[in-house]
Amino acid sequence: MELDNIEKLLEKYFEASTTVAEEEALKVYFSQEKVAPHLEQYAPLFQYFSNAKEERFTRQVPLKPRKNYYKWISVAAVAVLAFGIYFGPDRYRDYQEQKEAEFAYQETRKALNLLAENFGRGTEKMAYLNQFEETKQKIYNNN
């Protein structure tokens, strides 16, 4: 490209009235080895722009397939809650009844034990009556 043209483009460039294609031409001109000495000062600018475009984003971004775990967790929670509300009171009542029955059983047991103990004591006393009977028989037999 002629030098004259490049100078005009540069002028337009700094007024921001160049097109993308014209700027491309400038970049191409300044990327070559031979640049007119009085324009050399602009070379780093255009070279820098060309270089800057080479930079790449290399990091891997972990894109997990999104799953609506939360939706299902809430559904499960509601199910558990409903289950609990529906069956909970029954179970609790059963449990209370069982506890009462246990208590009644223990009380009855205690009472019966007491009775048995007292009966036992009564039977002991009856042993003496046996002795009396034996002695009585002896006396009858002697006579």
């Binding site: 460039y13 921001a16 070279q47 894109l63």
Partner: protein, 169 residues
């Protein structure tokens, strides 16, 4: 939208997002984090992506907003200034060092520009978008974009001239 379709949509411009983020945030890690964040945000909205008429412009706007927020937030105080490495060219070492040096100048000069001019310069001179696209991405009028671009280019030229005439500064 499935993962493969999503990747097909996003792949062509993910580097552009990254470069814009890096232009604004300077640090490589910050820019990578920002890009990842933007991609994940897009992915989380993947059902709606079909309804955006220009996903690329939308993603660019998201990146711009995200980075400006980052800069505003307190965390920005922890930003590290890390300079990127440039690709090797085939020029001899002396020339190469010089070129690298002047490329670094350009980068440093760009870092000193106001955010808006930085973005306009990045989107136009590096990414080669046209004015209407830039206007859409940055939520500006095309004429404002032009003015900002001209200002940015002239500032860069002026500072580059200073460096050039003073030698390595």
């Amino acid at each position: 939208m499935r993962q493969s379709e999503f990747l097909n949509v996003v792949m062509p411009f993910k580097d552009k997002l990254y470069r814009l983020a890096k232009r604004l945030l300077v640090s490589t890690e910050e820019a990578e984090d920002a890009t990842q964040e933007i991609l994940l945000k897009l992915w989380s909205k993947n059902e709606k992506i079909g309804s955006y008429n220009n996903v690329e412009a939308f993603a660019m706007t998201m990146t711009k907003n995200f980075c400006l927020d980052r800069l505003k937030s307190r965390q920005a105080g922890n930003l590290k200034l890390v300079h990127s490495n440039y690709g090797d060219t085939d020029t001899p070492l002396q020339k190469q060092v010089e070129a690298k040096d002047s490329a670094l100048w350009v980068q440093k000069i760009m870092e000193e520009l106001p955010e808006q001019q930085k973005m306009v310069l990045q989107l136009r001179d590096v990414e080669e978008y046209d004015y209407d696209e830039i206007a859409e991405m940055l939520d500006m009028k095309p004429s404002t974009v032009r003015v900002a671009l001209s200002r940015a280019r002239k500032t860069v030229r002026e500072k580059l001239m200073q460096k050039h005439s003073y030698g390595i500064g």
